[in-house]
């Protein structure tokens, strides 16, 4: 046949190769990876619709874990079933694994070199600014009202007071669930839904 060699790979193999590629060439995680998935699977191959991808991404984000791995698993299942879901997750993670294993080996070997140590003082100093700028970037979408602000402040104080992240995070989730459910049920009935007490965190 004439088209031989063009796309003779089975779907699962093609898909895991694309995941490998995305995992290898996409820096910065998150949204840039989703954009790649959109291009490869929706535009080029037409394996699923735009809206379906957005649904998958929305759920992948609200579930705990690594957002892009969550998305890869769901996408893999949707296109090729359970086996494909596993392949996609491992394909996505593999390049980062190899690169990081190499970096760790080098790091362990050179970290005591005085010049490297000096450069690392500078690199390390950038980490707090990175976290701060990420907080600034998500400030508006994450803290939408006074309840959100209250939850953020209590979480901040809680972690500094030595409470474990696990408890703080899930407590925050349930407070959000309770507050929003209460507001929704109040709005369904006549009366005002604006006033509320501070979230207990």
């Amino acid at each position: 046949m004439v088209e031989e060699g063009k796309r003779t790979l089975p779907k699962w193999a093609d898909m895991s190769l694309v995941m490998l590629k995305i995992g290898l060439f996409t820096f910065g995680g998150g949204w840039s990876i989703v954009a790649q998935m959109q291009k490869e699977f929706v535009e080029k191959r037409g394996w699923l619709g735009e809206e379906e991808l957005l649904d998958i991404v929305a759920i992948g984000r609200s579930f705990p874990g690594i957002m892009v791995v969550n998305t890869a698993v769901m996408l893999g299942y949707r296109i090729g079933g359970v086996g494909c879901a596993f392949l996609c997750a491992f394909g996505m993670a593999f390049p980062a694994f190899v690169v990081m294993a190499a970096v760790t080996t080098c790091y362990t070997a050179v970290r005591d070199n005085p010049w490297v140590a000096r450069a690392m003082v500078g690199v390390r100093a950038v980490v707090v600014p990175i976290i701060l700028s990420a907080c600034l970037g998500m400030r508006k979408s994450a803290v939408r009202d006074r309840v959100g602000l209250g939850i953020a402040v209590l979480a901040f104080l809680g972690l500094l007071a030595g409470i474990s992240n696990l408890y703080i995070i899930f407590l925050g989730g349930f407070v959000g669930l309770a507050v929003q459910t209460l507001l929704a049920s109040r709005q369904a009935q006549p009366g005002q839904g604006e006033e509320k007490g501070g979230g207990e965190g």
């Binding site: 290898l24 060439f25 996409t26 995680g29 998150g30 998958i56 759920i59 609200s62 579930f63 705990p64 874990g65 690594i66 791995v69 969550n70 698993v73 769901m74 879901a85 596993f86 390049p95 694994f97 990081m100 294993a101 970096v103 760790t104 790091y107 362990t108 010049w115 000096r118 450069a119 690392m120 003082v121 500078g122 690199v123 100093a125 950038v126 980490v127 707090v128 600014p129 990175i130 701060l132 700028s133 990420a134 907080c135 600034l136 803290v143 939408r144 959100g148 602000l149 939850i151 953020a152 979480a155 104080l157 972690l159 992240n165 703080i168 925050g172 989730g173 959000g176 669930l177 929704a184």
Partner: protein, 177 residues
């Protein structure tokens, strides 16, 4: 063997506690320091490396911590741990996708989670302040200066992270120590 199991379980917990991007940092910091797998300095280093190499932070951190604690097999155990939840919970979610679509309870839950992420991330910045001290515990003016410059470049000038890192490394050679 016990170390491998510990790595798996701790990274499983890290997976459970993280909701998107850098919100993973507070848990990684807490667990690594508690288990003695990394110092505070090393946690900062791994975040820096993760931002400069491809792939998600969770995989990078699992590989780094696993390798340092127990070699390649440790890295595999930690990676399986951090991905386990995706391979079970998200697989189930994909199977029941139609029912989850636009579920209000899921949205209300994340409404509470997002501000928590900001709160614990800011708190982690405070616990990381020793990165701005020298070995004797005094404030290191060079590191403070580099930090302030980096914040300016990231927020005001919108530089990319790898670019800021390179500049910071060069400045560190001059001012560090």
């Amino acid at each position: 063997m016990k170390t491998l199991l510990d790595l798996y379980l701790v990274f499983f917990k890290i997976g459970v506690c993280s909701f998107g991007g850098l919100s993973m940092i507070p848990v990684i910091n807490e667990e690594m320091v508690r288990h003695g797998w990394m110092t505070l300095e090393e946690v900062a280093d791994i975040i820096a490396f993760a931002e400069m190499t491809p792939g998600p932070l969770g995989i990078n951190a699992a590989t780094f911590a696993g390798m340092r604690a127990a070699g390649i097999s440790g890295a595999v155990a930690a990676n399986l741990g951090v991905m386990s939840l995706a391979l079970t919970l998200c697989l189930a979610a994909a199977i029941f996708l139609a029912r989850l679509r636009g579920n209000p309870y899921l949205e209300r839950f994340t409404y509470g989670i997002r501000p928590v992420c900001i709160g614990v991330m800011l708190a982690t910045c405070i616990t990381m302040l020793p990165n701005y001290q020298n070995a004797a515990g005094a404030v290191a003016p060079g590191a403070v200066l580099i930090g302030a410059a980096a914040l300016f470049l990231l927020v005001k000038r919108k530089w990319s992270i790898p670019k800021v890192m390179l500049v910071a490394a060069a400045l560190g050679l001059v001012l560090g120590g």
